[in-house]
Subunit: 183 residues, 2 copies
Amino acid sequence: LNHKHRLTTFGDRGMSLEHEINKSNAYYLAKGIAVVHKKPTPISIVKVDYPKRSAAVIREAYFSKASTTDYNGVYKGHYIDFDAKETKNKTAFPLRNFHRHQVEHMRECVRQGGICFGLIKFVKTNEIYVFKATDLFSYWDAQYHGGRKSIPKKVIDQRGYKIPYRLEPLIPYLDGVNKIIHI
Amino acid sequence: LNHKHRLTTFGDRGMSLEHEINKSNAYYLAKGIAVVHKKPTPISIVKVDYPKRSAAVIREAYFSKASTTDYNGVYKGHYIDFDAKETKNKTAFPLRNFHRHQVEHMRECVRQGGICFGLIKFVKTNEIYVFKATDLFSYWDAQYHGGRKSIPKKVIDQRGYKIPYRLEPLIPYLDGVNKIIHI
Ligand SMILES: [Mg+2]
Ligand SMILES: [Mg+2]
C-alpha cells in the first residue's frame, strides 16, 4: 500500500461519520485549535430505578426530536455550528436529510454571526464537503417554490469545500471553515 | 401585591433554575437576540426495545459524566458558554459545585475567544450573578495551592454582575454578558 492509498482508505473502514468527526474534534481540542463537541442524543426519561449501592438505571426513556444541530463549538473566536449528513446518492444530496428545525436553527445562528454548515459525505465515493449553510438555505427554500428536492453534487463541488481524509485530524473540516471565514 | 413584589417572587415559585434559564433562552431566541440551548443530559444507552408499530423504548441506560458545561450558543457573533449553579450557602459559593472538566472546558473555550461564565444563584436570597470564568479560574486554581475552597459572596458581588429577575426574560443574563464583552 502506498501512502496515498492508505490515506484514501481511512474513510471506509467501517468507522461511522460521527466517530470520524469525534476523533477529529478530539485532535483539534488536544492541539488547542478548536473546541467542538457533539451534543448528547436528546431523550425524554420516564422511569429511573435507584438500586441500593449502585448507579441509577434509566428503565424507560424515548428518543426525542433534536431542536438543534449535532455539533457546535468555538474556533478562533467564531461560533461554529454544523450537522453531519451522509448520502448513498452519487449525483446529488437529497434535502430530506436535513430536518426543518435544523435548518431553522442554523438560520438563527447565522443571524447571530455564527459560522454554520453541513458536513456532507458521499459514502459511495468517500468524499466529504463543507457546504455553507447560506448556500443550503437557497436550495432549502427553493424546494417549497417548485425547486428541486436535492442539491446537485456538481453544485456542492463548486460552492462547497472538499475535505480530503488525512491522518490527523481524520477530517480536517476546519480547512473549509477557514475559507468560509475569509469569504 | 405591588409590581416590585411580584417581580421579586418570580424566582421562588418552585421553578427550577434550569427551567428559568430555558424560559429566558426561549425569549432571547423568539426575539432574535441570541441562540442559546441547554445540552441534553448525556447518557449511555445499553438496551433498546423496538416494539412493532410504536416508538423505540430505551430499557437500560445510565447517566454519564458531561464533558462540557450545560449551555452554549451564539450572541452578537460571540460564542457563549456557561453552567448554572445553585447554592444554599449565604456567604460564599463552594467551588465543589463545579466539576473539574467543566472548568477545563471553559478554559479551552476562553482560549478560543469564547465568553464563559458561571450563572450562580444564591437560593436563600434568590440572587443571581453572572460571574466571569476568568475570575472563577483564579479561585479554582488557588484552592490547590492553599487557597480557600469557596468564593466569598462579597467577591461575587464586587466582580460579578447581579442579574435581577425580570418579567421577560425572567433572567436577563445577557445584561451581564454585555458587560463582559465590553471590558
Ligand atoms: Mg445528525
Ligand atoms: Mg449544571
